[in-house]
């Protein structure tokens, strides 16, 4: 069977201890949260950290609180906890829809929200064993100097494959990054950079400790996901929307976010602008979908053809916006994603 290389496992009992350990050698250390992304990558020798710093015993990162103005989710909260959290299902439906479609029930029982937000970017030329990557002469992201997806590309084109990020970006989440030298907070969208290798603005000595999601009265959110199967698969396209309307049905606040269309998850500000101040009518929805379409730049390094993945952007944005409008799209959702809810 595939086995892990040797490493040192450190198990700090507090965040400060963890950050101190990380500070000692950030370049050769990895944070072990759920491990469901890190460990397979280590087995394939895509990542070979010498030290793993486990967050399992760092209790302060496992808190989840729902308050009237804000939801706070610790970086180590398991996806399964979010998926099965009754209050979240009511308040942050789009997040729960996204999280409950990540990987499989088993992985959600181990994986953490912080881990999903920091998920390594993916590519069919990269998520392979060391011998396979040797057979192609390696690639820019690990041990090589070329991007096989587009050989003239100056940067790595590996794709952001987190489901939680677009959902949380649409909801306006902030994330807290802590290091031994301090704490900073930034909009989740700013955590990401459009580079398959340097896809996070997080420094190696920082840990994603907390996600803060503002509560907006009457806001509705949804997440639609394209993939071959209703389970296991990473997104080939993720569409998250969050819309707040007033009593007259006029949109007060709207965000549309796309996942799995580039090396980072994207907000679609044009869609927000088009939707705000308008009723959520078919025409507004159509325009928002049109606005999202050009931002998606799928590449040939994942399942399904890129033309199809691109073509589905409009369809999924439309479905997601219709869902928050209150249309009954449950059959479409069931058919496409093979899941209920």
């Amino acid at each position: 069977m595939l086995r892990l290389p040797e490493f040192q496992l450190l198990s700090p009992q507090s965040l400060s201890e963890a950050l101190a350990l990380l500070q000692a050698d950030p370049e050769h250390s990895s944070i072990l949260a759920g491990g469901t992304d890190l460990l397979p990558n280590m087995k394939r020798r895509q990542q070979t950290p010498r030290r793993l710093i486990s967050l399992r015993n760092v209790a302060e990162l496992g808190q989840l609180t729902v308050a009237a103005d804000e939801v706070r989710i610790g970086g180590s909260v398991r996806l399964r906890t979010i998926e099965t959290h009754e209050a979240l299902a009511a308040e942050l439906r789009g997040l729960v829809q996204a999280v409950s479609q990540i990987a499989t029930v088993h992985i959600r029982g181990t994986a953490t929200i912080g881990g999903n937000l920091c998920l390594d970017t993916r590519c069919e030329y990269y998520n392979q064993s060391q011998p396979w990557r040797q057979a192609i002469g390696f690639c820019k992201k690990k041990d090589g100097d070329i991007c096989w997806v587009a050989t003239s590309s100056p940067r790595c084109l590996a794709v952001s494959s987190t489901d939680a990020a677009p959902a949380l970006m649409a909801l306006g989440a902030q994330v807290q990054l802590c290091s031994a030298s301090g704490t900073r907070e930034l909009p989740l969208a700013d955590l990401y950079q459009n580079d398959g290798i340097h896809y996070l603005s997080k420094r190696p000595d920082e840990v994603l400790t907390l996600i803060r999601i503002p509560q907006r009265a009457g806001q509705r959110s949804a997440y639609w996901k394209l993939r071959r199967r209703g389970s296991f698969d990473f997104p080939l396209l993720g569409v998250a929307v969050a819309v707040q309307r007033d009593d007259a049905g006029i949109v007060q606040h709207a965000q549309v976010a796309l996942g799995a269309v580039s090396s980072r998850p994207l907000l679609v500000p044009e869609a927000s602008a088009l939707l705000c101040g308008q009723p959520l009518g078919d025409e507004q929805i159509r325009q928002a979908a049109e606005a999202a379409y050009p931002l998606a730049k799928p590449m040939d390094h994942a399942d399904m053809s890129l033309s199809y993945r691109k073509a589905m952007v409009k369809s999924l944005v439309t479905s997601a916006l219709r869902e928050v409008r209150g249309d009954d799209v449950s059959q479409d959702r069931q058919r496409l994603m093979r899941v209920l809810g």
């Binding site: 069977m1 595939l2 086995r3 069919e124 998520n127 392979q128 064993s129 011998p131 396979w132 040797q134 057979a135 192609i136 002469g137 070329i146 096989w148 050989t151 071959r228 199967r229 209703g230 389970s231 296991f232 698969d233 399942d303 399904m304 053809s305 033309s307 199809y308 073509a311 589905m312 369809s315 479409d332 058919r335 496409l336 093979r338 899941v339």
Partner: protein, 817 residues
């Protein structure tokens, strides 16, 4: 025997090995742990086609914990499943032929050390031009991937012509010409291949391996290692699925045997998931052209089938696979004239071989989709069209296949009735559709893989005073339930509970030869052998008991664990008491039974592929939903009817049907063994696109629709208790039924497999633009098929021989497949 009421056969029952499977006690190959066991990993080629210039393993050998490094020179003898394709080395000797071809093996104290040592082996290669696709193989006879085969990179080209094909086309009212492509896919058994080899205390070699064909592994090991077969023991461990993927003898099996012999310690190998994709032997990608002549009423007048198979880098079963792409076109519908041309080429990819439905799946897809087009054109209901042309029971087909029972018409009627097909076809709203397709499959290959006159399956029984019956047979338990079938057949004949029968299977030291778990042969052949052995035992016991009771032995009934007088049931005894009497009367009791199929009626070269003791038949209706906006496809429901002859254990039979439907659906919708060739200017790489179980897509529980099954039981005279195969046939109609349903739903033709939303959406777009709403191959390349063998059909007075065949040395048919 025929008139006896059945007590076990035909009743749904917990299989005999179920308890072990649900408690986790089944010992698969990788579950074996022996004292002092070492671990083996194999270094595989990173190049698709190259000469090996040198191998330097000195650094690997120096790594602490490494015990042995093997290379091709340690085992230079070739092997391969077919006698005509002995083209594999345990480790590549002079060249590598695909990325993943093994070149060296490390045996070390732990698997991790062995893995790390692989990186320390220095191999120098001289790259050769890469052949990545059949068209390339045809265009580039050089460099040759192998120095044998029909020519250049053509491994095998065959042509057979039955009847007057040209005349048949001339008589047709319509001639349909279609090309189809069926992508390659793989078995993906959940258990990866594993093997443990050890010297037993007597110094003889034993290997436990997850193999479907222990007998052929036995022969290969003896051959490559130069051992008398009597000093090699092969034990087929219960497998975590095979589906044809564990049917070849494999490199790793020979390597661990060699290592165990050299080191005197047990050696284990367990392949990674990625390595299983390199072992492959899965479904051949096949390009097909079908030219079919039909009368206005749907009667077929002639079929000309051409196939081009992408064989990958080695022979494997390829010659048989090639013939199989043409063999079974005749057994479903009456075909008076038939020409088949098949060609298999070598390419620098993992070798293709037999997967569930071996070689017949791809042309069946073409044939059944073409029939749907024919029905559309002739404005005949596609079910009705099929009913009109179904082959008749007791037929000898154009290519001399002897078909006994044919339940196909009943199968069609069953699925049509249950699905409401007639009320739905062309009547459902846009986006909803139904499709129908049919198929047939062998109940065991009529010929052995290497020519011999011995039985295909043997069963030995031991009865003793304990009342226990032990049944020995060389069959391999892949998961299909052969242990249960063996047990049930013996228990039924002897009238005992299945719990009083112990089976010892898949052990070449203990059990008589069975050729293996492939070609849906086990129930037919082992079942008949088991019945024969049990009947002999029954007769022996009956004679002794009749003597004791003073009645005629044919008056005795064996049932419910008793042996008694049919006229006076109270007059009798327990089975155990009966065996005591028999053992006292005749001495130690052992009986044997064996089975060999009837000699085929086909006498032409290539006629060894296709004959079978019986053919199963299947019909399926599929209902789909297609979203015209996205092409997204949902399979709502499947109705299937399978002519099984008799379901020996209906629980298992249903499982085989559902499992086949599932696998067929996976092939239809998503499974594909895809490759990537990097831009040739920058790299010579040709790699499996995604050798992982995540990216090789297979259905989860969320994609599997409900399946409504009817098993049609019309006992076949050749089958054990009338039974025919069920493990492969029900896979075949699923892919064409899906394609036909999509046409019914949205009016586009997807003439290739897999059928994906991308392709449907593209076809819809083409249709909307006024172009043909079809996705599929545009043409069929020029292939230099040989001059066909001309075989007059039975109705032309043919005797099964070709009229233009050069006289062949006395009966060597089997050697040619």
């Amino acid at each position: 025997m025929k008139d006896r009421p059945l007590h076990i056969i035909g009743k749904a029952r917990r299989r005999v090995d179920a308890r072990a499977k649900v408690t986790g006690e089944t010992r698969y190959a990788d579950d074996l742990h022996l004292p002092r066991m070492l671990h083996c990993r194999m270094l595989r080629s990173p190049l698709p086609h190259a000469k090996i210039v040198s191998i330097d393993a000195s650094r690997a050998k120096a790594l602490p914990g490494v015990h042995l490094v093997l290379t091709g020179a340690d085992m230079p003898t070739t092997f391969g499943i077919l006698p005509v394709s002995q083209d594999e080395h345990a480790l590549c000797l002079d060249k590598v032929r695909f990325v993943g071809d093994p070149v060296a093996a490390v045996v070390a104290q732990t698997e991790l050390i062995a893995e790390e040592a692989l990186a320390l082996i220095d191999v120098q290669y001289e790259p050769l031009q890469t052949i990545s696709a059949p068209e390339e193989a045809l265009a580039h006879p050089e460099p040759r991937i192998h120095d044998y085969g029909d020519s250049g990179n053509v491994h095998k080209a065959v042509a057979l012509s039955f009847g007057s094909v040209d005349q048949g086309f001339a008589e047709a009212d319509h001639v349909f010409e279609d090309t189809f492509h069926y992508a390659g896919n793989t078995h993906l058994p959940l258990e990866t291949h594993a093997a443990v080899a050890a010297l037993d205390p007597d110094g003889k070699l034993t290997i436990w391996s997850s193999t479907q064909t222990p007998h052929y592994v036995h022969r290969s090991i003896a051959k490559v290692l130069g051992l008398p077969p009597s000093r090699v023991r092969v034990i087929s461990t219960p497998q975590g699925g095979g589906f044809g993927g564990k049917t070849d003898p494999f490199n790793h099996e020979i390597v661990v045997c060699k290592a165990a012999m050299m080191l005197g310690r047990p050696v284990k190998v367990c392949l990674s998931r990625e390595e299983v994709f390199y072992c492959h032997r899965g479904r051949h990608p096949v390009l097909m052209k079908l030219r079919c002549g039909v009368k206005q009423d749907g009667t077929l007048t002639a079929l000309h089938l051409q196939t081009l198979l992408d064989g990958g880098a080695y022979g494997s079963y390829g010659v048989a696979s090639t013939f199989y792409t043409g063999a079974l076109a005749t057994v479903t519908y009456h075909l008076p004239n038939y020409r088949f041309e098949g060609c298999r080429v070598f390419t620098n990819k993992p070798p293709c071989g037999p997967k569930r439905g071996h070689g017949t799946v791809q042309p069946r897809f073409g044939q059944e989709v073409q029939l749907d087009k024919i029905a559309e054109k002739l404005a005949i209901d596609p079910a009705e069209l099929r009913l009109r042309i179904v082959e008749k029971p007791g037929s000898l087909t154009a290519n001399f296949l002897r078909v006994q029972s044919i339940g196909l018409a009943d199968c069609i009627r069953s699925v049509v009735r249950r699905s409401g097909f007639s009320d739905k076809h062309r009547k459902l709203p846009y986006g909803k559709g139904v499709g129908i397709a049919c198929s047939s499959y062998l109940s065991g290959a009529g010929m052995p893989i290497y020519y011999n006159d011995m039985p295909h399956s043997g069963v030995q029984l031991k009865l003793d005073r304990s009342g226990l019956v032990t049944a020995f047979c060389g069959v391999a338990e892949v998961g299909q339930g052969c242990d249960d079938v063996l047990c049930a057949c013996v228990a039924e004949v002897l009238g005992v509970d299945v719990a009083d029968v112990k089976v010892v299977t898949g052990d070449s030291d203990l059990s008589p030869v069975d050729l293996g778990s492939y070609s849906s042969r086990v129930t037919m052949m082992m079942g008949n052998a088991a019945i024969a052995a049990a009947e002999r035992a029954r007769e022996l016991v009956a004679t002794a008991v009749a003597d004791k009771l003073g009645i005629a032995s044919d008056q005795l009934v064996f049932a419910h664990g008793r042996v008694f007088d049919a006229a006076a049931p109270e007059k009798g005894m327990s089975f155990r008491e009966a065996v005591v009497i028999a053992e006292a009367a005749t001495g130690t009791i052992g009986t044997t039974g064996s089975y060999k199929p009837e000699k085929p009626a086909a006498l032409f070269k290539g006629g060894g592929v296709g004959p079978s003791p019986a053919y199963s038949y299947t019909a399926a209706v599929v209902e789909v939903s297609v979203d015209p906006q996205t092409g997204w496809l949902g399979v709502d429901k499947i109705w299937i009817a399978h002519d099984i002859g008799r379901a020996l254990n209906p629980t298992l039979a249903r499982g085989q049907v559902e499992g086949s439907v599932y696998m067929g659906l996976g092939e239809a919708l998503m499974e594909e063994q895809a490759f990537r060739r990097l831009p040739p200017k920058l790299s010579g790489a040709l790699v499996h696109r995604t050798p992982s179980i995540l990216e090789y897509k297979s259905l989860t529980s969320l994609e599997m629709p409900e399946v409504d099954i009817e098993l049609l039981e019309d006992p076949d005279p050749n089958g054990p208790f009338g039974g025919k195969e069920v493990g492969q046939g029900p896979l075949l109609p699923i892919m064409p039924a899906i394609a036909n349903a999509i046409f019914d739903a949205v009016g586009v033709r997807i003439d290739e497999v897999p059928i994906t939303p991308e392709k449907i959406l593209k076809a819809l777009g083409q249709k909307a633009a006024g172009k043909p709403g079809r996705i599929g191959p545009k043409d069929f390349p020029a292939v230099s098929y040989p001059e066909p063998l001309q075989v007059p059909t039975p109705w032309q007075g043919g005797d099964g021989r070709a009229t233009n065949e050069v006289a062949r040395p006395k009966d060597k048919r089997a050697k040619n497949v």
